[in-house]
């Protein structure tokens, strides 16, 4: 008695729901959405849904819509045609000569699509229920400006390095003979060099020691460097930066920084 009453109640609700569906047809996002809503009236796990029953529900819905002269979009009608086809496949015994997928396969795929759509809707709901930036958690309100610096990075490979070295070390091997100007130190160079060094030598220092490294051994370079350094020393003495002395003829020439007149 109670059961029967409940059943009647459910039927009424289902019918009301179905009518509400028709009125709300614009609210559906296409036939799949509608099918999903209809499938809920079966009140079973989507995996156990009866596709045949669902097809009937859908076709019934389309029928009623027609009666109410509700114009359905083309895709609803395409779906109806397809479901009618599916229904016939499911009801008729399989014809072995017929090609293509069986009714069960098609039904299983439809069930899968519905389950997948539902799963995505649930996932979307869970996503939106998460704590969200700007609503539940917040970023730094006063970010500090980061100044941008353009840095130039120089690239060189190991090969570049080795080739450069190889080039330098083997240059002599293929160099045609010319007058070697490598052996000449200009007075300007000597002057610049001495200016930089004079501060380091506190006391009297032989002029010879100011010759650039590597210029002391080769006679040609030594001559050039000595002459240039001597000229440079005279120039510095003239400018009042250094003092020069020589103990006796041919004795080493010595120089030292002139004491600061203030100190």
């Amino acid at each position: 008695m109670t059961d029967e009453f409940e059943m009647q109640e459910t039927e009424i609700q289902t019918r009301l729901a179905a009518e509400a569906l028709i009125v709300d047809v614009d609210g559906f996002e296409g036939p799949l959405d509608l099918l999903l809503t209809l499938s809920r009236t079966q009140k079973v796990d989507l995996r156990k849904i009866s596709v045949l029953q669902l097809a009937q529900q859908y076709l019934g819905f389309v029928e009623r819509a027609k009666k109410l002269r509700i114009e359905l979009a083309a895709d609803y009608l395409v779906m109806a045609a397809w479901l009618a086809f599916l229904k016939s496949r499911l009801l008729l015994p399989p014809d072995p000569s017929e090609e293509g997928p069986s009714g069960e396969e098609l039904a299983a795929h439809l069930a899968f699509q519905l389950e997948r759509l539902q799963a995505m809707r649930d996932a979307a709901a869970r996503l939106m229920a998460r704590d969200q930036k700007g609503r539940d958690f917040f970023v730094r309100g006063l970010p500090e400006d980061v100044s941008r610096i353009r840095r130039i990075s120089y690239s060189a490979t190991l090969l570049d390095l080795m080739q450069a070295y190889a080039r330098l070390r083997t240059r002599d091997e293929f160099r045609p003979y010319v007058m070697d100007r490598n052996a000449i130190l200009t007075m300007e160079q000597a002057l610049e060099r001495m200016r930089g060094l004079i501060g380091y030598a506190g006391d009297w220092t032989a002029l010879e020691s100011y010759l650039p490294e590597g210029w002391e051994t080769d006679p040609a370079r030594r001559r050039s460097a000595t002459a240039a350094s001597f000229a440079a020393a005279l120039e510095l003495a003239k400018l009042g930066h250094i003092e020069i002395r020589q103990g006796e003829v041919f004795a080493p020439i010595q120089i030292r920084k002139k004491a600061d007149p203030d100190g």
């Binding site: 296409g30 699509q113 759509l117 799963a119 869970r126 958690f137 500090e144 980061v146």
Partner: protein, 217 residues
């Protein structure tokens, strides 16, 4: 700045102590509203710093505090603790309400990425309007992924770091229920059986490209 000079010079060979590295990361992360990648932290800290370790310490330090260190993809950011959101009415940004289509499209891209438009349409059973995708692109929650190597070479969509940041996700693998959905086969790209077009046939709307995409992938 002057104080840091000697450190800088030495750092070629020796990094500053871990405590110092930690506060350097802290300063940089505090100063930025956007997540900062590990790579950028490394480039901004003195040479030889162990950013990964410094971040572990820092994260621990902020556990249970009013702000916390969160991971966003391969980047890190400081964010207020979500349970204190109620204090922030003033900072709350009113976001445009997203349509159901946009939310579902977003979820489909997030769970199926990289996803083509045809795949989104296949799942939703309706065509995706241009505005929906545009809105998600504008929010910087999705971006273009690589083209699918199928006929027509359709573009794909993937979710962004901003998406992860917005929803407080460490990475896309942390999406709620992802494992279960995958285990249930609901993330499979299952083509309709046979050569028949499935019930999702959208008539003119489903382009040949989209269909072939579904069949061949």
């Amino acid at each position: 700045m002057a104080d840091s000079k000697p450190d800088d010079a030495e750092s070629l060979f020796e990094a500053p102590p871990m405590g110092e590295q930690e506060r350097m990361c802290e300063a940089i992360l505090f100063a930025s509203a956007d997540p900062v990648t590990v790579r950028e932290l490394e480039s901004r800290l003195p040479h030889g710093c162990d950013v990964a370790e410094a971040l572990v310490h820092l994260r621990k330090r902020y556990e249970g505090r009013g702000v916390r260190l969160v991971r966003v993809g391969d980047a890190w950011a400081m964010r207020t603790a979500p349970d204190l959101g109620f204090l922030m009415q003033k900072e709350t940004v009113e976001t445009r309400k997203l349509s159901r289509a946009a939310i579902e499209t977003l979820a489909i891209i997030a769970y199926h990425q990289p996803a083509t438009r045809a795949e989104i349409e296949e799942i939703r059973g309706v065509s995706v309007s241009r505005g929906t995708v545009d809105q998600l692109l504008e929010l910087e929650w999705i971006r273009f992924g690589r083209r699918r190597m199928t006929p027509g070479r359709p573009v794909t969509y993937v979710v962004t770091q901003e998406f992860l940041d917005h929803f407080g996700l460490e990475n896309a693998r942390d999406l709620p229920g992802l494992k279960e959905l995958r285990a249930a086969g609901l993330l499979d790209n299952r083509p309709p059986p046979g050569a028949m077009q499935g019930p999702d046939d959208q008539g003119e709307e489903e382009e040949v490209i989209g269909q072939s995409e579904l069949f061949e992938d």
